[in-house]
């Protein structure tokens, strides 16, 4: 038992660090996510990684994976967090990609995997509906067979960044007579199909990250069904477990704590740096301790994966603790910037009430928006209450 990296792993870290320093576009800066990023900015790093062959590290090598060990993948995410890169979005790489190479047919693999790898094709996720959130299996969108097509009707919501999407993967009810979890199918939809309509939803931070998506008599070739008709729930669950395993965001949070310390060293309270205030320092240290625990928990899970155990129900712990920490981090950052957390910087030109120029320190400008934005993390990907239900059932056996 030890926490040390091997010389090979150290060399790997040096290699990826050098690659990131050399290849990450300077014009993207090191701010990670911003509310006003264009599609091109968001896929820039993905495309570079696609060319390098590093955009889908976790995939099996036959589909373009790097064959890295879980420890190497951990180093990779740490180094990207360090440089604050904007990583490939999960919808293609971590969600539909693994479903396609695991359950899809050869034609689907040939059609879709290259575009996911390269970053050319943008995917969105059509799961939630206005009446089907945590109770996802109550979804009502239907796909009715008509010759060699499905005809899809229904409304999806919270479709993240669907305004840019070329393709979407949708859960649709194909057997209305079956029990809730049965009779659902996993269907790929070309978002340019007639009858698909995407309407952005403005969120608390002023950004438009999610959408309502209407599907009205959308005709989809039956070849776009993944796997077996009415077995979509199995694939959906498979996907959610994959989604959770990367969700802890430990490396990003570690970088966030460093930033928080910088801010708190710059802000003053009672004539001294805020970080010297015992009450504030206590909150930062507590956060660091919880993050240290989570980091080892994640490494233990990775070690389990390396030993051949797939991401199991313990990934629910990573989701719960990871998101709680991300939220506390943004909460403390907003606290740290003090009164300059108040000015609003909507980023959309036609937004009413947008301040044209920034006031206060640079680091204060996104503090409130980020805090508001991160409230989503304990809600999405199976809310943290749903994660507790999963642990209750799968681990406690109740």
């Amino acid at each position: 038992m030890n926490l040390e990296f091997t010389p090979e792993e150290q060399a790997f870290r040096d290699e990826v660090r050098a690659f990131i320093a050399e290849s990450h576009p300077k014009e993207l800066g090191d701010f990670g996510m911003r509310e006003d990023m264009t599609r091109e900015e968001m896929v820039a790093w993905h495309k570079i990684l696609g060319t390098k062959g590093w955009s889908v590290p976790a995939w099996p090598t036959e589909y373009g994976g790097t064959g890295w060990t879980p420890t190497q993948r951990y180093i990779w995410s740490e180094e990207n967090a360090r440089a604050n890169t904007f990583m490939p979005l999960p919808f293609g790489v971590s969600m539909v990609g693994p479903v396609i190479y695991t359950f899809g047919n050869e034609a689907q693999k040939a059609q879709h995997l290259p575009g996911i790898r390269s970053g050319e094709v943008w995917w969105c996720q059509g799961y939630s509906e206005p009446g089907a959130g945590s109770d996802l299996a109550s979804l009502k969108t239907t796909a009715v067979r008509d010759g060699d097509h499905y005809v899809i009707n229904g409304q999806k919501t919270w479709t993240t960044l669907a305004q840019h999407a070329d393709w979407g993967f949708f859960l649709c009810r194909t057997d209305p007579a079956a029990k809730a979890q049965e009779g659902i199918s996993f269907i790929l939809v070309d978002m340019k199909s007639p009858g698909v309509e995407v309407k952005p939803i403005k969120l608390l931070d002023g950004g438009y990250e999610v959408n309502e998506t209407w599907l009205t008599d959308v005709r989809v070739p039956v070849e776009n069904l993944v796997g077996v008709e009415n077995k979509g729930w199995t694939y959906a669950k498979f996907l959610l477990a994959h989604e959770r395993s990367g969700i802890a965001g430990v490396a990003r949070s570690k970088r966030g704590v460093e930033k928080l310390r910088e801010i708190a060293a710059n802000e003053t309270m009672d004539g001294a740096p805020l970080i010297k205030d015992f009450d504030f320092a206590r909150k930062v240290s507590q956060l660091e301790i919880d993050l240290a625990a989570l980091e080892i928990t994640e490494l233990r899970t990775l070690a389990g994966e390396q030993a051949g155990k797939g991401p199991g129900p313990e990934s629910s712990i990573l989701k719960i603790k990871g998101t709680e920490i991300q939220q506390r981090l943004t909460e403390l950052t907003l606290e740290a910037v003090g009164t300059y957390g108040a000015p609003y910087y909507g980023s959309i030109a036609n937004d009413t009430g947008t301040n044209e120029y920034a006031v206060g320190p640079d680091y204060a400008q996104h503090a409130a928006a980020t805090y508001f934005n991160m409230r989503k993390t304990s809600i999405y990907g199976g809310s943290n209450e749903i994660q507790r239900n999963i642990i209750t059932k799968m681990i406690l056996g109740l």
Binding site: M1, E4, I289, A292, I296, R300, I391, T392, L396
Partner: protein, 376 residues
């Protein structure tokens, strides 16, 4: 990076797990802690026979070449059975002082007895007014001819009633709370001038107030350099904290499992109370707290050999996180057991008590959060 245990460690765990299950059952433990002795020397002898007491010493020192991870494995199993025998004072603390600071002849004199189970140690460091500061000492050791004379009062010395020897901290120079001037001594408990007031602790162990009145000890009793003992004390107590965290993890694991099982058996409103989501989610939070505690215990254990700042930060992080988990799990376990949780009859209350007292040993949550902040 490696989270695997060696085959040997797996064997130690299995062996101890069997010993605790078969010979440390609840009724036997209850009788033993209520007996005059308050512990079972025959269990201690058995631990010696199994090689457990020599596990963490190097082969050169007469042990079996293990280290901190072995101590962690052992303490987790002890925690599961609320074993009261003084492994931490004897093997981790006294053993640690000898390993890190002992001269060849001190090792020669004492390690053999520890490994064989014939010497039992207690660590007399706390004082009535010192709280968690190892340098805040009123006990003095004055140079006197060929040795030292000790005077003072040591508080809540765990395991002292069972001990043949004591490790004692005392001030040899400087002012109260100075970092320098702290020294460490090893003395036989029957040395003239040592008196004890023995008592029972709330978590079923035995402890004593230990009084030193003009106790003469030879120069050879000094461990490490005179006046330079604080760094050694900090190292050894960090090792003790890691071991105690492992013990707490074992106790938390059982407390959680007992609670889940109880919620399956106990019926109210015609159904098992474990079917209520409000209790399910609380038991999930207990489980999560346990897993986080295990992770921090690994971190502390694996950082014991790191440089001083890294080691102290990891150990303090563990003492904070494990302390918080222990409190949550102890309190919730009692709550979910309802009235039975507050009876002496049910085991769960005793796990709660041990997990409660754990916090006060070698610095509580607040103390270690403060140390963590200071080292940022």
């Amino acid at each position: 990076m490696d989270f695997n245990f060696t085959e040997e460690q797996d064997m130690v765990r299995d062996g101890l797990s069997r010993l605790v299950r078969e010979q440390y059952d609840w009724e036997t433990r209850r009788k033993a802690i209520a007996s005059g002795a308050g512990w079972r020397p025959e269990v201690w002898a058995q631990l010696a026979e199994l090689g457990i007491l020599g596990m963490a010493f190097s082969e050169a020192d007469g042990g079996f070449g293990g280290g901190a991870v072995d101590a962690m494995v052992i303490m987790q199993e002890f925690g599961k059975g609320l074993v009261v025998e003084p492994f931490v004072p004897t093997v981790v603390c006294a053993g640690g002082f000898l390993k890190h600071g002992g001269t060849a002849s001190q090792k020669e004199e004492h390690i053999g007895g520890i490994v064989a189970g014939s010497s039992v140690f207690a660590f007399a460091y706390a004082e009535p007014r010192g709280r968690f500061d190892y340098a805040d000492l009123e006990t003095t050791a004055k140079k006197d001819g060929a040795g030292y004379v000790l005077n003072g009062h040591k508080a809540v010395v765990i395991g002292a009633p069972w001990a043949s020897h004591l490790i004692v901290t005392a001030r040899t120079s400087g002012e109260r709370r100075d970092r320098s001037g702290v020294s460490v001594f090893v003395v036989a408990k029957d040395t003239a001038g040592i008196t004890t007031r023995d008592y029972v602790t709330v978590d079923g162990r035995r402890a004593a107030e230990v009084y030193f009145e003009n106790v003469s000890v030879p120069t050879e009793a000094l461990i490490g350099a005179e006046g330079d003992g604080l760094a050694l004390i900090e190292l050894v107590t960090d090792e003790a904290i890691a071991a105690l965290c492992a013990e707490a993890c074992g106790a938390m694991k059982v407390a959680h499992a007992m609670t889940v099982e109880y919620s399956r058996q106990r019926k109210q409103f015609g159904v098992p109370i474990g079917s209520f989501q409000v209790l399910q989610h609380r038991m999930v939070d207990m489980y999560t707290a346990y897993e986080q505690a295990v992770s921090l215990t690994y971190l502390a254990t694996l950082r014991l050999g790191s440089d001083e700042v890294e080691r102290k930060r990891a150990v303090s992080a563990a003492k904070v996180g494990v302390g918080q988990s222990a409190r949550l799990i102890g309190q919730e376990a009692v709550q979910i057991h309802g009235g039975n949780g507050v009876t002496d009859e049910y085991a769960i209350g005793h796990y709660f008590k041990r997990l409660t007292i754990f916090d006060s040993e070698f610095g509580n949550v607040d103390h270690h959060l403060k140390r963590h902040i200071a080292l940022a």
